[in-house]
């Protein structure tokens, strides 16, 4: 699972450099993000602008990450492509996450606290 990371203000931006987050990679994806949380990174922006496809397993791993982080911090989502945005709408998960057009927008909002 190829994930690039970059610090923007107080946010750690994690850019998923994969076309898909599906059942084949969902666990690996979840563990990769958890490792950052365990390392003390609690203000996260997940940049999904390169992800063209997420299935229910991928969605489950994103929700699982939000639950794992819990009260410790924030997990914002950014750059959702059309099919991914649609998945969040169909499952009504768009009501749960803070979703931003770009990672920079998300980081800026996090900065304001």
């Amino acid at each position: 699972m190829d994930i690039e990371q970059q610090t923007l203000g107080r946010a750690l931006v994690l850019s998923v450099c994969e076309n898909r987050i599906d059942a084949a990679v969902a666990l690996e994806f979840r563990d990769a993000i958890r490792a950052r949380i365990d390392a003390g990174q609690h203000d996260l922006v997940l940049d999904l602008s390169r992800v063209e496809f997420v299935d229910s397993s991928g969605l489950g791993s994103i929700v699982g990450t939000l639950k794992y982080l819990g009260q410790r911090g924030t997990l914002a989502l950014a750059g959702l492509t059309q099919p991914v945005q649609r998945l969040f709408q169909l499952t009504r998960m768009e009501r749960v996450f803070q979703i931003y057009p770009t990672a920079a927008d998300a980081a800026e909002d996090l900065q304001k606290g």
Binding site: D22, A23, F53, D55, S61, G64, L66, P83, R92, V96
Partner: protein
């Protein structure tokens, strides 16, 4: 002797895979390639193609995880049938029978403000049911036969 003409103008394509999660992406994409020529030439077509890709992915994931219990190397067969105004994707496997009522699983209800109680699973069937026009399941001998039907 003259060749017998096909009894109706139906097109049929098929592909096979074995039960590894890594094989799903390629198979779902192949189904989309088969479906594309039958999609309307407008903005709707991308949404329909995306719906078919997602639903086929969900079905194949279920087959591998539940019908085959995660075992690899087992056969799955996909058939795409196109009729005017209708696309059918047939999925066959030789795994365990699907428990009654599975395909009618309804949407998971949750409180968006209660993060600790959010569902992490159970999205698959509701996603299939809300995107397809009809879903059929039949146990045929030792095979499962699932049909996804989408009006186009």
């Amino acid at each position: 002797m003259a060749m017998q003409a096909p009894h109706h103008a139906e097109t049929e394509k098929e592909c096979r895979l074995t039960s590894e999660l890594e094989s799903i992406a390629g198979a779902a994409r192949q189904v989309m390639v088969y479906c594309r020529p039958y999609l309307p030439a407008d903005r709707q077509s991308e949404a329909i193609a995306a719906a078919i890709e997602l639903c086929v992915t969900e079905v194949l994931t279920n087959v591998i995880r539940h019908a085959y219990g995660g075992a690899g190397g087992r056969p799955i067969q996909l058939q795409v049938k196109a009729e005017p105004g209708l696309l059918e994707v047939h999925v066959y496997d030789e795994g365990a029978k699907m428990p009654a009522g599975t395909i009618r699983s309804s949407e998971v209800d949750f409180d968006p403000t209660d993060i600790s109680a959010l569902p992490e699973g159970g999205f698959g069937w509701p996603l299939i049911n809300c995107q397809m026009d009809q879903v059929r399941y039949r146990r045929e001998g030792n095979r499962n036969h699932l049909t996804l039907i989408k009006a186009v």
